[in-house]
């Protein structure tokens, strides 16, 4: 879509939207990518769904995802695999893989996803869309089937930065149904888009340019930094020294929180089908055993262990301390700069089945996880292509509740490049 379209044409009213199947939709089956919720028809709308409906958005349907948002490739969906529109042998990323692929393939104007450790930004990078994870508390989580309640946040995918801004405008703000949604005023994001980056202080974190970073991704990010400098931004190196511990802390905290939520899910919704006197724990265990996939079971076991008596301080307590250190890193950096620029992922979209080892899969989120641990906003914007034509994601990280600066920076970068003119053959 050309940039010349009028503001009126940019109203959600004109947009056909679709949702990751993690959001409760009244009267429409909501599975969270899991067999255990097959047949669950919520009697209520998630707050963000109600807001999009109220804004006149046309909801086309629900999108595939990793089961309970646990995964980085959408291969953990209990139902089917989703392919990357740029190369059908590759994954779209995850866990919001369906949301990214649908936008990249022109199946929807914009979509919603959720991001707990990178689940919006990583698929946005892999599929070449804009993807925004707002600040924790910026958008209501009511009606979002939780993965890890202290990390989850709802956010949009758009074909470009302006569409992501429009979607954020529609869903942001305090919700009385979510006590963790913050009573912070929501600025006019469309107005922020045109501000440019002249004089903006941009930080480049040393710890995000490390061994294992794909040289083509690094080259693209360095080129993007040069583009921002050309546009008048002042760049400087910053240090986020606890970055390398983020991943380990995340894989204690997120499974710990998930282990609680999953028990809740097994108990509710479709109800317990067992009969007879022994209707409690045996029945729930049987349902959970048959209903959950391998990755969900792995994380529930990890989390239950980390929270068990005698191990709580060693694992969960320690991980929470690391979380504080990661947040302090960012706070110190943001005393010096307005926005941080980094790669979204160490590499580009990998082939299906390539990462069978869970640890290899987890490493994919090394640059996105610290942002969730710190509760900050992060945005991935299309930052170029590899020689073989795969999209590369440029990540912008901002101060708490300062999504406007991310959008403004991304928009300026987008306007100075022509990457968006390329389309996957599928959608041409």
């Amino acid at each position: 879509m050309p940039d010349s379209r009028s503001e009126a044409a940019r109203s959600p009213r004109r947009h056909s939207l679709a949702l990751k199947d993690v959001f409760c939709t009244r009267g429409v089956e909501t599975t969270c990518g899991s067999k255990i919720l097959k047949g669950f028809i919520p009697p209520y709308d998630a707050t963000v769904v109600a807001k999009l409906r109220a804004a006149g958005g046309v909801l086309l349907g629900k999108l595939n995802m990793d089961e309970f948002a646990m995964g980085s490739s959408t291969e953990n969906s209990a139902f089917f695999t989703t392919r990357n529109p740029w190369d059908l042998s590759r994954v779209p990323g995850g866990s919001s893989g369906g949301s990214a692929a649908a936008v990249a393939a022109d199946l929807a104007a914009a979509t919603l996803g959720t991001d707990t450790g990178g689940s919006i930004r990583q698929p946005a990078a892999f599929c070449g869309t804009a993807g925004l994870k707002p600040t924790y508390g910026r958008v209501s989580r009511f009606g979002l089937i939780a993965f890890a309640s202290s990390l989850d946040q709802v956010g949009p995918f758009g074909k470009d930065v302006a569409d992501a801004a429009l979607m954020l405008q529609a869903i942001a703000g305090h919700d009385p149904m979510d006590s963790t949604s913050a009573p912070v005023p929501v600025p006019d994001y469309a107005a922020a888009l045109s501000l440019g980056v002249k004089g903006l202080k941009v930080g480049i974190p040393d710890e995000y340019f490390i061994e294992g970073l794909d040289p083509e991704v690094e080259a693209a990010v360095r080129a993007a930094i040069a583009t921002l400098e050309d546009l008048g931004a002042q760049t400087q190196r910053v240090s986020l020294p606890h970055t390398e511990y983020g991943l380990a802390a995340y894989y204690v905290i997120a499974p710990a929180e998930a282990s609680s939520i999953s028990r809740a899910t097994t108990a509710s919704s479709t109800g317990c089908a067992c009969r007879g006197p022994a209707i409690s724990s045996t029945c729930i265990r049987a349902r959970a055993g048959a209903g959950f996939g391998a990755e969900v079971k792995r994380r529930v076991m990890l989390g239950t262990y980390a929270l068990s008596a005698g191990y709580y301080d060693a694992y969960y307590g320690k991980a929470q301390k690391v979380r504080t250190l990661v947040l302090r890193d960012f706070q110190r950096a943001f005393e010096l700069v307005d926005v941080i620029v980094a790669p979204t992922t160490p590499g580009v979209a990998f082939t299906m089945g390539e990462r069978a080892d869970p640890l290899q899969m987890y490493l994919n989120d090394v640059f996105t996880i610290p942002v969730n641990l710190a509760g900050l906003p992060g945005l991935s914007v299309l930052g170029g292509f590899t020689r073989t034509g795969l999209p590369i994601g440029l990540q912008l990280i901002g101060k708490a509740f300062d999504e406007a600066t991310l959008l403004r920076t991304a928009k300026a970068y987008e306007g100075a490049t022509r990457w968006r003119e390329r389309k996957p053959e599928l959608a041409a």
Binding site: A46, P176, S268, P277
Partner: protein, 173 residues
Amino acid sequence: MSDAYEVVIGLEVHAQLRTRTKMFCGCSTAFGAPPNTQTCPVCQGMPGTLPVINRRAVEFGIKTALAINCTVNADNRFARKHYYYPDMPKNYQISQYEEPLAEHGYLDIEVAGASRRIGIQRLHLEEDVGKLVHEGSLETAQSSQVDYNRAGVPLMEIVSMPDMRSPRRRPRI
């Protein structure tokens, strides 16, 4: 009872707070309604729902805490207490463990004409569970039905210190 043993009694009292609505949602707490007519996605523990605390329940808890000389904590923490039971829709009860509403109180009672001080360890807020209705007797029932009208009704739990030495010294609250 042999003199070798000393009777030591502490009490854990669960009291319903007489709010109009439930602890974490807007459903009515009125008693005696037909089964499952006072429920919503939140108190049924549906996926995606979140709790919002009842202001009146906190106020009632604080009033009680002050009446029994407790220190009210400025920071409160709620936690999930996990266990499986069919009348508990979420498979966890939202309760307080660390940082309860109030702590370190006492209640003076009269025992045989003399005043005696019973320590109060803590007072915290939590939610009630639903109700199981067995078809037939508990032993022979082939099925049970669950009424969630009571699920989420506000409770306060008052825990005394083990300061009582005779059943006759139980305070009347």
